[in-house]
């Protein structure tokens, strides 16, 4: 039988905290370095150690990055999920298991291979046998796929950078695993990994680290944060890179980092930073945004710049803290009481995590308001390919800030909240300058910033605020349109669904449909979106939540004539999107129209 080359899905079932993450990343990076189009996905529990974890590696010649629908190679290491894992395996799959778990594997319809992984690991490192056992399945998989130990060495070295003894021991375990499999499992050729020409520019990086680097290149001056999965690694990324990138000539840092007592304090510090003329940010997830909402309203109303990165996890409430969703979008767009509207940047890949990381500060200062980066656990905490981040193509936009009395005097009829330019954006002065010193407030204020409850003053101010944010629509990142000649079905989507959309599109086109896609990259949405919807017969807003949050926003804001063309497909179960599942749901929806 001909071998399936570079098209397979590996599912590795382990327990959290057993050190399997190193083994999994070594496998992923080894294949990536071989030029195989590969993606990895960590499905982890909200727990420090003991609960089940799965790591999915998918190789796909078509470049598909979603976890895929069925497993070809199943690794069994976790006794707690043993039976459930076995029951889920589809006929014909390869099963590799650790025989020291001492549980049976009874599946006559699968190819079953075993290895005494823990026992062999004890031979190398008796104290760390449990950790080291994971390196033996790396060896087993390498044998099954025909990967040579030399192809793994580089990844092991970078995983255990500088720890020579760890590199040596882990490589020894992997080699022993390969030899054992060769000796006991025979020649298995169903799936194979073949070297391809790798673009030397590509590397893998997590979305959160990309956002962190982007923020640093955006000139962040203050990071205030409170730990929360899945956003903590944004802060940790900033902390890691600051010493190298943001140490001034006098040896001091140009960015203050404060671990706050809670999210309310974190966002309060962001407002303080923005008010004082700096670039402040925080990073959080849904529960944090809920807590921050009051301050977000203050930012909107008193017009103080700031940046919040929301790495979405599953809500409501504590929800599924280690699973992914696009469930915060409508909350971000309208956070806080009263009428508000916030700018939301929605990266769809790691390159945009970097780019929107620095752009967020420019928008925040230009529009003097809170700007959100909206990522999710899938994008933020998994490693994705990039060909390298692109340096900011424009200087920092610090917005309308008056630094001298002369500048102020040149403005006719100046007032902190007076729209002298007609774009809804007023000029501001900074504390310490002594120029137009006013008391910023969250209470009603007139154009000079003086307390006011006058009906006309309030109404006019709110109208200006709407005008100001409306003005950002076509300045913010435009949607990415991929249009077919026959404008049959248009799919409007956003965020990390980007990594699955090609596969969904391919499945839909196999059923004879002509499918165009439009990836929304910011709210308020860009006017290009209206043209896209208008050109297509039927449009589906595809998103990973229950209620169709973008759909709801579009229904309210799109011209009424377009609404009959718009349909919602919203589905969320906490898992990263699987192409087949979403494609089937789209087909069902279309049938029912």
């Amino acid at each position: 039988m001909k071998s399936e080359v570079n098209n397979f899905i590996i599912n590795i079932a382990t327990a959290n905290g057993t050190g399997s993450q190193s083994s999994n990343l070594i496998l992923l990076h080894s294949m990536f370095e071989m030029g195989i189009p590969v993606s990895g996905k960590n499905l982890f529990p909200s727990n420090i150690s003991g609960l089940p974890t799965w790591f999915i590696i998918r190789a796909s010649e078509s470049g598909y990055q979603a976890p895929g629908d069925k497993t070809n190679i199943q690794i069994l290491m976790n006794k707690d999920t043993w039976e459930k894992d076995i029951a889920k395996i589809e006929p014909g799959a390869i099963i590799i298991y650790n025989e020291n778990v001492k549980l049976p594997v009874e599946r006559e319809d699968c190819k079953i291979f075993s290895m005494p992984m823990t026992k062999m690991a004890r031979g190398i490192a008796p104290k760390f046998a449990k950790l080291m056992a994971n390196m033996y399945y790396v060896g087993g998989i390498a044998h099954i796929l025909g990967i040579k130990s030399e192809d793994i060495e580089k990844s092991v070295s970078s995983q255990f950078k500088g720890k020579d003894r760890a590199i040596e021991m882990n490589m020894r375990a992997i080699r022993e695993g390969i030899s054992y499999a060769a000796e006991h499992w025979g020649n298995e050729t169903t799936f194979s990994a073949e070297r391809r020409d790798k673009d030397p520019d590509t590397y893998l990086i997590e979305g959160n680290e990309a956002s962190a680097l982007g923020s640093i290149y955006g000139g962040v001056n203050m990071l205030a944060w409170y730990p929360i999965t899945p956003s903590s690694s944004v802060a940790e990324g900033i902390i890691k890179w600051l010493p190298e990138l943001r140490t001034a000539k006098d040896g001091g840092t140009t960015c203050a980092v404060i671990q706050a007592e809670d999210e309310l304090a974190a966002v309060g510090m962001v407002l303080g930073a923005g008010w004082a003329g700096g670039r402040g940010m925080t990073c959080t997830s849904g529960p944090g945004i809920s807590l921050m909402s009051e301050f977000i309203g203050l930012s909107y109303f008193a017009e103080v710049p700031g940046v919040i990165w929301d790495v979405n996890r599953v809500g409501p409430s504590t929800g599924l803290p280690t699973r992914t969703q696009q469930g915060d979008l409508s909350m971000l767009y309208e956070a806080s009481h009263g009428d508000t509207q916030h700018i939301v940047l929605i990266p769809g890949n790691v390159d945009e995590c970097f780019e929107f990381g620095w752009r967020a500060f420019d928008y925040a200062e230009r529009y003097q308001t809170m700007v959100f980066g909206f990522s999710d656990l899938d994008l933020g905490m998994n490693r994705w390919p990039t060909t390298g981040f692109v340096y900011p193509d424009s200087p920092m936009d610090r917005g309308k800030v008056i630094h001298t009395q002369k500048q102020l005097d040149a403005i006719e009829n100046y007032g902190r909240y007076r729209d002298v330019d007609g774009d809804g954006i007023a000029y501001r002065t900074l504390p310490g300058s002594g120029i137009d010193p006013i008391l910023y407030r969250g209470t009603g204020h007139d154009e000079d910033g003086i307390y006011s409850e006058e009906p006309d003053v309030y109404h006019k101010n709110m109208a200006r605020l709407r005008k100001k944010i409306e003005g950002s629509r076509d300045v913010l990142p435009a949607p990415i349109l991929r249009e077919e000649e026959i404008k049959e079905v248009g799919i409007v989507f956003y965020g990390s669904m980007e990594y699955t959309i090609t596969e969904i599109d391919d499945i839909l086109e196999q059923s004879g449909l002509s499918v165009s896609t439009c990836r929304v990259r910011a709210l308020p949405y860009h006017s290009d979106l209206e043209g896209f919807i208008d050109r297509h017969e039927t449009n589906i807003v595809l998103e990973m939540n229950r209620d169709g949050q973008l759909y709801g926003i579009l229904r309210r804001e799109l011209p009424v004539k377009l609404l009959s063309k718009l349909h919602s497909l919203a589905y969320s179960d906490g898992m990263p999107p699987r192409a087949r599942l979403y494609a089937d749901k789209i087909l069902q929806l279309l049938e029912g129209l």
């Binding site: 030397p200 140009t254 203050a256 008010w275």
Partner: protein, 344 residues
């Protein structure tokens, strides 16, 4: 011809005034505002270098009534400390004068109060403490004494929070208590607080004339006047005019040099109080409390504690004044990072 009295910056006191107060006539808070104006003027603080911070409540409205030439931020309820912290990180050269109340600090804002103390944020934190929520019409706050009875309504059955005791336990670097009716003492303490680098807390008993000025209230004018346990007489000598004339009465006195070179002179009356000893400060607070009195004066002072901006090792220039080159790493640095991540 009018003769103007000018301070060290040649500024008249009017340069430090603010808008007209909208608080109740006779409110203790207005007296505190006047003291803030007086102290800032006497200390010769440049108005543009001051940032006025507040939360929500009667007290938090007052920044509109003083220092009209300084920027200010009337933030949200109980969260002024975090906004001040962020602003302090971005511009460490600003002099932060914050006003809060007992509702704003002891209830909704207790967490931020605690953590701002732990960080030793460089600010003056004035609590205008009257034991009631004024703007919402007189509910008890968390600082009111147990058994307190308002003109109308039920008796308070809960134990009070003593904000000075709390600040002392948290290791606050400057802790004082005063009374809005003791203008001389409050002015000296506030001037000293302005000269301190780090968190300076002044808990000012400031009677609410509308809701809690009945004689049974421990925070009424009459009660405080009669039950003020004065620790020491306080005088302030500014660094720029050390010859300023002050009365140094007979008896023991202690002189403390502050961060900017100014001095505070404490003249002991009764038992001597050691301001460098947290335990004796706590004892003074609790002993007074046990006799239903208010101890006033400088309870504790430590000029050696690093502030957050020191501890973080910020660059010398305030971050708000950095150039683009100082804020954004170079093109080459990103190339280097890309290549390193590529494994090249």
């Amino acid at each position: 011809m009018t003769i103007l009295k000018l301070n060290v910056l040649n500024l008249d006191k009017s340069e430090y005034k603010g808008g007209k107060s909208s608080l109740c006539p006779g409110c203790g808070h207005d007296q505190v505002s006047n003291v803030i104006i007086q102290a800032a003027w006497e200390n010769g603080l440049p108005p543009e270098g001051i940032a006025k911070m507040s939360g929500i409540g009667c007290s938090s409205k007052t920044p509109a009534y003083f220092l009209g030439k300084s920027h200010g931020f009337n933030t949200v309820h109980g969260r002024m400390p975090s906004v001040t912290t962020g602003a302090n990180m971005i511009n460490k050269d600003l002099s932060f004068i914050a006003v809060s109340g007992d509702g704003d600090t002891a209830s909704i804002g207790i967490g931020q109060f605690i953590h701002a103390i732990r960080r030793n944020i460089d600010m003056v934190y004035i609590i205008e403490n009257n034991g009631v929520y004024g703007l919402t019409k007189g509910q008890y706050s968390a600082t009111v004494e147990k058994g307190s009875k308002k003109k109308k309504g039920a008796i308070n059955e809960q134990n009070p929070i003593d904000l000075c005791a709390m600040a002392l336990n948290l290791g606050c670097s400057f802790v004082a208590r005063s009374f809005s009716g003791s203008k001389k003492q409050l002015t000296a303490l506030l001037r000293a607080a302005m000269s301190h680098k780090g968190m300076a807390i002044i808990d000012v008993i400031s009677p609410c004339v509308t809701f809690a000025n009945n004689d049974e209230s421990y925070r009424s004018y009459n009660y405080v006047k009669e039950n003020d346990e004065v620790l020491h007489l306080v005088d302030y000598i500014s660094h720029f005019s050390p010859l300023e004339e002050i009365d140094i009465p007979e008896g023991q006195y202690r002189e403390i040099e502050l961060f900017d070179g100014s001095k505070i002179v404490l003249e002991t009356i009764g038992s001597s109080h050691d301001t460098s000893n947290i335990v004796s400060a706590l004892r003074a607070v609790h002993e007074a409390e046990s006799q239903n009195k208010h101890v006033t004066g400088l309870l504790y002072y430590n000029g050696e504690m690093p502030t957050t901006t020191d501890a973080l090792g910020l660059t010398g220039t305030p971050l708000s004044q950095l150039s683009e080159e100082e804020g954004r790493p170079t093109f080459e640095s990103l190339n280097l990072i890309n290549n390193r991540l590529r494994g090249l």
